[in-house]
């Protein structure tokens, strides 16, 4: 494996700096965001590197759980922030966070115990990267699906109420919107699976190969990860859309758009 030095990283950083200068010259108004994002990447990844180093040295379920909880809470906030018309109050945070907990955690624990079988099952070298990959992708799926659902409910409120007026159940009145939202949430991972190895080489596999792992082993891990991400995203999206769509109605099945933030 070729070990990277700080000079190597500085060269890569200078390329980002050049891009920022180019965007200033073109008045693209993204240079500030680009530099902040690059700085965040460097700081956040350095910190997680140090945390993982400490965690690998002290393998304990409590520490792994604490880091996993922190990752979940941050992902939950991200899901909430990406929705234009999120639910008001703690529901805005809870729907996404709970759905990610249900899906990502369940799939990660299943993979650690049943597929990887490492002892102890929560060995951070496997548990944290796996959970991170799952949370990151499930977060995207849930955010897209919830945004689509709440947006559609707002835009098509007259149609939903017309269906309720004709005696349809709440779930029937939003059935097409729910299907569309679930589809939208799952399209990114379906596309990623369809293009994997042909159009793009997935990041994790590329990283393993660069780090010196045999390509066939890297491919096996990548296939495993993509299947787990697909299941995690599917379950998470399904849970979020189910909980979210029910929350759009009260106990008398009345459409309650006042539960959503206005733009």
């Amino acid at each position: 494996m070729i070990t990277l030095g700080y000079v190597d990283l500085a060269i890569a950083a200078s390329l980002v700096l050049l891009l920022a200068l180019l965007s200033v010259r073109l008045q693209a108004h993204v240079s500030r965001q680009l530099l902040i994002a690059a700085l965040r990447t460097a700081i956040q990844l350095t910190l997680i590197g140090l945390v993982l180093k400490a965690l690998f040295a002290n393998v304990h379920l409590a520490w792994v759980s604490l880091l996993a909880l922190f990752m979940l809470l941050v992902a939950g906030r991200e899901v909430m922030a990406r929705q234009e018309r999120r639910f008001k109050g703690w529901w805005g945070y809870a729907v996404g966070t709970f759905s990610m907990f249900l899906s990502s955690f369940a799939v990660t624990v299943f993979a650690l115990i049943v597929i990887l079988g490492e002892t102890p099952w929560y060995t951070p070298q496997y548990a944290i990267p796996l959970l991170g990959m799952l949370l990151g992708n499930t977060m995207n799926g849930i955010a897209i699906a919830m945004d689509r659902l709440t947006h559609a409910a707002w835009e098509q409120r007259a149609t939903i109420e017309a269906r309720l007026m004709l005696g349809q159940r709440w779930d029937m009145a939003v059935s097409e919107m729910r299907q569309q939202a679930i589809r939208s949430g799952m399209i990114p991972i379906i596309n990623a699976m369809a293009a994997a190895g042909v159009v793009s080489l997935p990041g994790m596999m590329t990283g393993q190969i660069l780090a010196g792992a045999p390509p066939v082993e890297a491919v096996k891990y990548q296939i495993l990860i993509m299947f787990l991400i697909a299941v995690g995203t599917g379950l998470g999206t399904l849970a979020a859309v189910t909980i979210g769509s029910r929350r759009l109605f009260d106990e008398r099945q009345r459409l309650c758009l006042e539960r959503l933030h206005e733009k």
């Binding site: 007259a158 017309a162 309720l164 007026m165 004709l166 005696g167 097409e176 009260d250 008398r252 009345r254």
Partner: protein, 209 residues
């Protein structure tokens, strides 16, 4: 032996919702109550509350049974609301009439071929007449009509009035008809109310004067 009087088909007791109410009202089987009044005084709000589309205080009863004692699906099937603008969610007209037609299309001036039309090709008047048929296909016991003929020409307005009147009499349903047209209320209703600042005031029917 005393015979207890059956309750009115629709009974509203102290209904309140935002600026609306308290409203109390009763409609017997076969009766049509007309409500008029300026825009924004609470007429649509009243119909939505009766249809249980908005939360409200007070009681709404159908043949003595409280709204909350029936499921929302049961209630909204029996108490049908026709809004001023209709919405359609399936591509073809026929897709919305899977249980057949309650009234021949010709009675509303529509050709049978309209069932095969895509909904996007319909005029607002055609949609409104079809929306009435769609509602009647549920066999509701109470009809809540919110400006049902606002988009119609005089001939189709008359047809719509005739179909509703026929349905009201043959099926013994109660009708609450909201309209800005005083002449229409005089034609179709047996009692006339005016909504003023969320309160109903009974009016003398023009034909009685």
């Amino acid at each position: 032996m005393s015979v207890s009087k059956p309750p009115p088909l629709l009974q509203i007791k102290n209904l309140r919702r935002l600026m609306l109410g308290p409203v109390s009202l009763a409609a017997n089987a076969g009766e049509c109550l007309g409500i008029s009044g300026p825009s924004g005084t609470g007429k649509s709000l009243l119909l939505r509350a009766i249809a249980d589309l908005d939360p409200h205080d007070g009681e709404v009863l159908l043949e003595g049974v409280r709204c909350r004692d029936l499921t929302p699906v049961q209630w909204r099937t029996l108490v049908g609301l026709l809004p001023p603008e209709s919405c359609w969610w399936l591509p073809r007209v026929a897709d919305h009439f899977l249980n057949g037609l309650p009234v021949p299309l010709e009675a509303l001036g529509l050709a049978p071929a309209i069932l095969q039309e895509p909904v996007v090709r319909l005029s607002s008047g055609e949609k409104q007449r079809l929306a009435l048929l769609r509602l009647l296909a549920n066999r509701p016991r109470v009809l809540l009509l919110d400006e049902p003929t606002a988009n119609l020409d005089p001939a189709n307005t008359k047809r719509m009035e005739a179909v509703i009147s026929e349905y009201r009499q043959t099926q013994s349903v109660a009708v609450i008809w909201v309209s800005h047209d005083q002449a229409q209320i005089a034609r179709v209703a047996s009692q006339h109310f005016t909504m003023v600042d969320g309160q109903l005031q009974e009016q003398t029917m023009e034909r009685d004067v």
